[in-house]
Point group: C2
Chain length 138, copies 2
DNA sequence: CTAAATGCAAAATCTTTGCAGCCTC
DNA sequence: GAGGCTGCAAAGATTTTGCATTTAG
């Protein structure tokens, strides 16, 4: 019996500086970030990192359910780590910063709010206003 | 004194079939429509109407505050007539149809939900689930 | 070494804009 | 008629993809 070269069936992904840094930037943020923010922040530790790599990595992390997309009612797309549980966001209209909310102020009276026959499974909420820093600065 | 030709200062916009139809399509919808939906529906009464005209008219109507943009948490941009008052939307995850809600199930406890120092001025809510037709079809 | 990951640039989307001809007013 | 409006096509903006090269394992 001969020794067939073990066919390396490596399905796993590789660990790279780029991916590590992109993950880290998202993980250490206090709220969801835009692609541009992620791109700019990763430049500091991994100069030359391409925007395509950011997009590719974001899609990967999303499929791996390590991060999730947050699309604000303004149309702005942002990314944050998943596993934060049910929560919503506060969007400061002055500095544009987005904060995570701990509480959910929504109580959905299933039929009432919509009309008979609708089944509400989930909801998305975004609050707008001014954050403490912008109020102070005003 | 001579008679200078009265300079026609017509700042107003003109009434055209295209604009009429785009307005009408939005006004007669039961919920916010996508650009494609508006485009397709107008083709029926005004064949040849270009997509650029749809975009231009949507921007016009928006500046005139006759319609407003609705961006769903999926990233889908839709348009609906304004003057509907404070309301939210129900998005059917099966047929993708969007319905207007009459009731607002959100009671924001200003400080509580966010933390001290935040001032909540407004909010956006989208409910997800199944509409009556899709439940029936299931 | 081998194949996955990267960076660059080209391609694919979606939306806006320039321009010649058309149509309101 | 004059100037706004339209349709077409080109230009932007954003995200994805192809490919040669680099790099992790």
């Amino acid at each position: 019996m001969n020794h067939p070269k073990t066919p390396r069936v490596s399905l796993g992904q590789r660990k790279t500086r780029q991916r590590d840094e992109i993950s880290e930037v998202i993980r250490s943020a206090q709220g969801p970030l835009t692609v541009q923010e992620i791109y700019e922040r990763t430049q500091q530790s991994v100069p030359g990192l391409g925007i395509a790599t950011v997009y590719r990595t974001l899609n990967l992390l999303q499929e791996a359910e390590q991060i999730q997309t947050v699309i604000l009612p303004t149309g702005e797309t942002r990314y944050e780590m998943s596993g934060l549980g049910h929560h919503h966001h506060f969007h400061c209209r002055s500095c544009n910063e987005v904060y995570d909310l701990d509480d959910c102020p929504v109580t959905v009276q299933t039929g009432a709010a919509v009309g008979e026959g609708f089944v509400v499974e989930t909801h998305e909420l975004t609050l707008y206003g001014l954050c403490p820093e912008c109020i102070e600065a005003a």
